[in-house]
Symmetry: C2
Subunit: 337 residues, 2 copies
Amino acid sequence: MKKGVTLKDIAIKLNMSVSTVSKALSNDASISDMTKERVLKLANEWYYTPNEAARHFKQNKSFTLGLIIPDLLDQFYGLAINGVEEVAAENKYNVIVSQSHENVEKECKIIDVMSRNRVDGVIIAISKNTQDMAPFHKLIYTGIPVVFFARAPTEMSFNYVSANNEDGALKAIKFLVKRGHKRIAHLMGPSAMPISQLRLEYYKNALTKEGIEFDPVLVKEIDFTTAGTNKVMKQLLNMKNPPTALFIFKNYVSLDAINYLKKYHRSKLSKVDMIGFGNLPLIQYLDHKPVASIEENSHIMGIEAAQLLFRTIDQQETEVNEIYHHIKVPCKLIIHH
Amino acid sequence: MKKGVTLKDIAIKLNMSVSTVSKALSNDASISDMTKERVLKLANEWYYTPNEAARHFKQNKSFTLGLIIPDLLDQFYGLAINGVEEVAAENKYNVIVSQSHENVEKECKIIDVMSRNRVDGVIIAISKNTQDMAPFHKLIYTGIPVVFFARAPTEMSFNYVSANNEDGALKAIKFLVKRGHKRIAHLMGPSAMPISQLRLEYYKNALTKEGIEFDPVLVKEIDFTTAGTNKVMKQLLNMKNPPTALFIFKNYVSLDAINYLKKYHRSKLSKVDMIGFGNLPLIQYLDHKPVASIEENSHIMGIEAAQLLFRTIDQQETEVNEIYHHIKVPCKLIIHH
DNA sequence: CTGAAAGCGCTTACAG
DNA sequence: CTGAAAGCGCTTACAG
């Protein structure tokens, strides 16, 4: 087991200089065919593999992107990872994926590690508790551009890729109204998250557009846990005038909501219509599906985020740029038969 | 936007040498408190972040592991990734995850990229078509140790972490027999995969142990596609003496099998018992579950694979080691109520 | 207590 | 056509 063959090893063996070997391997016009042949032959024999780390080091770039997400097992993020990796691969970049598990301290540590490893940029869906934007300002200050996605930062002075939540909410509410619903509850995301506030807002706007009066008792906050969803479902279903449809922050919550109905209100299972954000692949296997999903296209969000990041990286090399982009990926309503 | 502050920047500003700054920051005993203070102060002010890439380069190690899997969205592999990442993080290692999407050429490319980037080791679940072990021999030859997991390599001279498939198969067949089944079909994996052959063998052995005669017509090969599963299901159910239970290579196939019954043999839905490998988290949301899952503990497999890899990396530094390990992670039968 | 030098593997501008 | 030298950011053995 030998440790990687280097240009020097080859140079010594062939009695030539390292520079000549380097140029021969990169097929430089100044090198004679004879030399190129000899070098290539030995390189193959010895399984010479160029040390990219050394190349990157010299270029002071890592050709690596950092991707931070709450949870890999969430199919929404799984799809986003794929999008990022595709664009990264096209650009000959590697991706390091890390999970915050919704923990702010963990997230900060990850950012620090990535920063120390000099990733060329960071793409992040922040944890549900992340408020402080200081770590991101620091990243940018030290020359590492950041693109947020899915979950909005608490300040607007950042690059950000999201679904077109407003349009998604409108399509969903319209669809529910068309199906005859008038009491449509909203299972809103954790209130600390800007994206939760936004979707709540869009829900209200959509109701107004559809001529339905907003009723604050129909808004209940979930925390992504099954227990939290169960509690909220109980409150809603025990109302004297319970909702007939649910507009849900995230479809994993819908799954829990459906399970709740199955257990405690079986009779309502086919009556309470649910629509949630995120068209998860696993929904195809369910017998009791949400009536529709708001397809957020997290795969495309990943692609857009990576492309935006690369554009920012390229710009950086030419001039300082203080313009921030907010890209909205269109939503589509997917009706589950 | 400045590009990363370096030791040199600090040294120049403070009128001292780079070595002194380096030592001050690593709290070397030889440096005066006064100097340390001055250095630390400026380092903080300037957000100095040590360039790990440079450190790694000097140590000729990347502190990065390569992880190659067929598909990130398969929860089996998602859980395995988590296991690998946990162990890597404990060892201050980064992980680069890449997907082969069951494509041999893609897999080879990934191996090449990882090799060029001088990952310190590779953990891989090979694609379903991977036969040639040459790329892995090359990796090992150039000093990059490899650990296979889940899917066995085509030669035995490699480190390998798998479920205890034999035990898993036995538990599954026993359980089905106890439920009164005598005609138990096997939906076997792609025959080119060694792991498929093994599970087939263990299925036969288990039948024998339970006193059931093996019937080759009850073995049908699937290819992981829904169409492939449907075809096989049709063949099985149209037999004059059809099976009453299915022992299935992988639970994603079970999901398709269940969907097939729902569509075309609804009456048999609750009669044909299925058991598949892999206790996928998404099963909890299904109304019609396999009667049981063979929990392969892919999360633990990830942990074991990473630990084995680290042991190999450590050994490498001391001496050449030609001993190969095959670790079998215990299986558990999970009965879905 | 501080600093000069060498070196990790590579590329590239320059000299010959 | 080939090679010597410098340098990417850091650490470390050695000199002073």
